[in-house]
Subunit: 223 residues, 2 copies
């Protein structure tokens, strides 16, 4: 394969991954809007997207694998291909977590509406922002932007802890709303996991750009 | 690098990954024993292991990356190296989930003991068995054994759903035990996720051995 064709194929792979990312973001958006608006149609869309995400994941993995097998990628390209494979896995899990959110949201809709003192919109906005920034850093090869994602993860963790506490207090006052409050706890934990996946993506971008492994070096988050 | 040295390095990498796996299994075992026996010393060990797991993960990833960059691995070796990198990520997450379990177990110990009608031992035994079988299939390059792991995942999912329901019923009777019951729900979900990671590992072994991508092809589970 001539070198120029190879560079084209790397660019195609990046586009394929970004399409996969758009699908994962769309799925999360549907799940959260379906939950916020009590919209079963949106929640059904989430289930349908899962199949498309799984097909997209396979397609990205296969293309990355073919490029590795047929070429002898140089260091920077090899790091890019490995980053693509890892990011692809994180995007698929964002899809899975979104399906979990949609399941809990559907369960909430099937029960009497409970007036719970909780608003997950702020948490989901921040989580979606982390994904957006992580993907932008991938698009631009921008390690500084990727680092800004790492700093946001602590805020999402704290929101999750606050919601957990608030729901315990709520259930003790109104045990009849236990099932509903438990669904909120689980949606909140899913959002927290999605934020972890956005963090992983940002770390993989840094690995691609710098060749440095920043995982578990949290001090970098505040550079 | 002469070919024989290269084969030696691949064998070394497999050993490194198995040591990482032993650490992850040990951490899960400590977390569950700490929970079952209310043993704070064991729960502290879990936190300590996390650092060791993170270091081991970096070391495996770096060695796999070096082998890819310095050699031009043939198809079967390339698939093996990619499988190692993915399995390594799943083992690290098993470690993370075990830390989450230990945190909820420590929270349980800090509260009045609640007499909850739940036994997580069966679920954790099955989950640990899935990890063990997945690793054995890696050791032996045995795709049939790997497939047997996929079939067990549904049982763990069902146990998680049963525990979720039982805890909702329990809280409605005894709201004063809400925090404790919520911790059980979360430990159960962590075990369910760990079973998912064991499933991922089994799928990666099949990919390595057969070159086929079995993800999302659940019919293979019952071959």
């Amino acid at each position: 394969m001539p070198r120029i064709h190879y560079q084209q194929r790397l660019a195609e792979l990046k586009n394929k991954l970004l399409a996969m990312a758009a699908l994962a973001q769309q799925t999360l958006g549907c799940a959260m809007d379906g939950y916020m608006n009590g919209d079963m149609v949106l929640l059904h869309h989430v289930q349908e997207n899962e199949t498309a995400i799984n097909a997209a994941q396979r397609s990205v993995d296969e293309m990355a694998y073919d490029l590795m097998a047929m070429e002898q990628p140089m260091a920077i390209d090899l790091r890019f291909l490995l980053a693509v494979i890892k990011i692809n896995g994180d995007l698929e899990r964002i899809g899975d977590q979104s399906v979990n959110i949609a399941e809990r949201a559907a369960d909430l809709l099937s029960r009497p509406a409970a007036d719970l003192p909780v608003n997950l919109r702020q948490m989901s906005d921040l989580t979606e922002k982390m994904i957006r920034f992580a993907l932008q850093s991938l698009l631009d090869g921008d390690a500084a932007m990727a680092k800004s994602v790492l700093a946001l993860d602590d805020d999402v963790d704290q929101m999750n802890r606050d919601i957990h506490k608030a729901m315990i207090a709520m259930i003790q006052q109104k045990p009849q709303w236990t099932a509903q409050a438990l669904s909120i706890v689980i949606i909140s934990r899913n959002l927290e996991r999605i934020a972890d996946h956005a963090t992983n993506i940002a770390e993989d971008v840094i690995f691609w750009v710098h060749g440095a492994d920043v995982r578990h070096h949290l001090s970098l988050a505040t550079d």
